[in-house]
């Protein structure tokens, strides 16, 4: 499936992931620092994902010196 990463925006292909949790694990990302979005909808980590999906893993950390 296609995974969209940000900061900066780029797309990568990921194979074999069955659930959102697998994506985080395969890409070594901490779920607390991201949102998984498919077609504008948020996905919890237990949601199944398929080979035709486009999933954005959007980082939530932002901001410099407050």
């Amino acid at each position: 499936m296609k995974v969209v990463l940000r900061q900066p925006r780029r797309e990568i292909e990921v194979e074999g992931a069955k659930r959102v949790a697998d994506l985080y694990k395969q890409l070594d990302l901490v779920p607390e620092s991201y949102l998984a979005i498919r077609d504008g909808e948020l996905l919890t980590i237990d949601m199944p994902v398929g080979p035709d999906d486009v999933i954005e893993l959007r980082p939530v950390i932002s901001g410099g010196s407050p």
Binding site: S33, G63, G64, P66
Partner: protein, 307 residues
């Protein structure tokens, strides 16, 4: 996962509350959290004139939406920092948001109105970009709040911002900063406006989720000047802890505010504030840090332009 309230499919898991929510009930949850914070800390009432610092990012736009939904009338002020495409994109997100909701937005353009951009200030002085930016924001937002005769300056700092700032201040054991970090910074006679942070109970991931659910377009890309900065690194470390022990960030911050901060009270207000000889705003010295920054930067820019 099912929504805690209606058992419909959940779109977000909030592990520190041991709860999952569908989109509408998550929005309700966030509204309740913010309303509770406003009341608990007596931040403001619907009668107060409120101005919110908006950056075009998720926190400030989500907060503008939340406060408007809760029935507060809030104007926004956007500071154009002169950081290339990043600034023009964030301005566009902010303007689109305000126009769609018919909200009042004031814009301060640093290069035009003040004479320099944040990258220029960082290049001209010993400050990092984030330090020059933070100083300029604090100064200009307070100035706009004063000129507009607002009662309260509202800021979009979230739980992660405050926990990361606290973490940094603890690592440095900086008693003055530890004494001052608070959800409400009261106004003072010298001209500092009352400043409040209604999002401190809401994690950064939750403000982002709120923005996505509410269809708020915001600047997702990171400020190019802030990449890899210290606060963001602290946030990543705290999130690694949060992942293992949900509630860590909230316990750290609210444990400090409820039980730890009293140990630093004697350091509060230990600094006498005077009036800046240049601009009249409050300062600890003769000329305030912002006026010094402006001087140094304008001199550097001028000498570069002349050479």
């Amino acid at each position: 996962m099912k929504c805690r309230v209606c058992r419909d499919r959940a779109v977000i898991q909030v592990r520190r509350h041991n709860a999952n929510f569908c989109a509408p009930h998550f929005v309700d949850h966030i509204h309740r959290q913010v309303e509770k914070t406003i009341h608990h800390y007596r931040m403001f009432t619907p009668d107060d004139r409120l101005v919110l610092g908006v950056s075009g990012g998720k926190d400030s736009l989500a907060l503008w939406d939340i406060l408007t939904e809760l029935g507060y009338r809030v104007d926004g002020v956007y500071l154009h920092l002169g950081i290339g495409e990043y600034s023009s994109d964030s301005l566009r997100f902010t303007q689109d948001f305000a126009e769609a909701r018919d909200l009042e937005l004031k814009i301060v353009d640093l290069p035009t109105d003040v004479g320099f951009s944040v990258p220029q200030a960082a290049a001209a002085t010993a400050r990092t970009a984030c330090s020059a930016c933070g100083l300029s924001k604090r100064y200009l937002l307070n100035q706009v709040a004063g000129q507009g005769d607002y009662d309260v300056l509202v800021m979009g700092h979230n739980l992660d911002d405050e926990a990361a700032t606290l973490f940094g201040n603890v690592l440095q054991w900086n008693p003055e900063y530890l004494a001052r970090q608070a959800p409400v910074l009261p106004a003072d006679e010298g001209g500092l406006k009352r400043k409040v942070k209604p999002l401190i109970r809401v994690a950064e991931r939750e403000t982002a989720a709120y923005a996505v659910i509410r269809g708020i377009e915001y600047e997702v890309e990171e400020c190019p000047m802030a990449a890899g900065n210290t606060i963001n690194r602290y946030k990543e470390w705290l999130n690694a802890l949060e992942e293992q022990s949900p509630g860590t960030k909230a316990n750290f911050l609210f444990g400090f505010l409820d039980r730890g901060q009293q140990a630093f009270v004697e350091h509060r207000g230990s600094v006498e504030l005077a009036t800046c000889a240049e601009c009249g705003q409050p300062t600890t010295g003769e000329v305030c840090a912002f006026c010094r920054l402006r001087h140094q930067t304008l001199v550097k820019i001028g000498s570069r332009a002349a050479s």
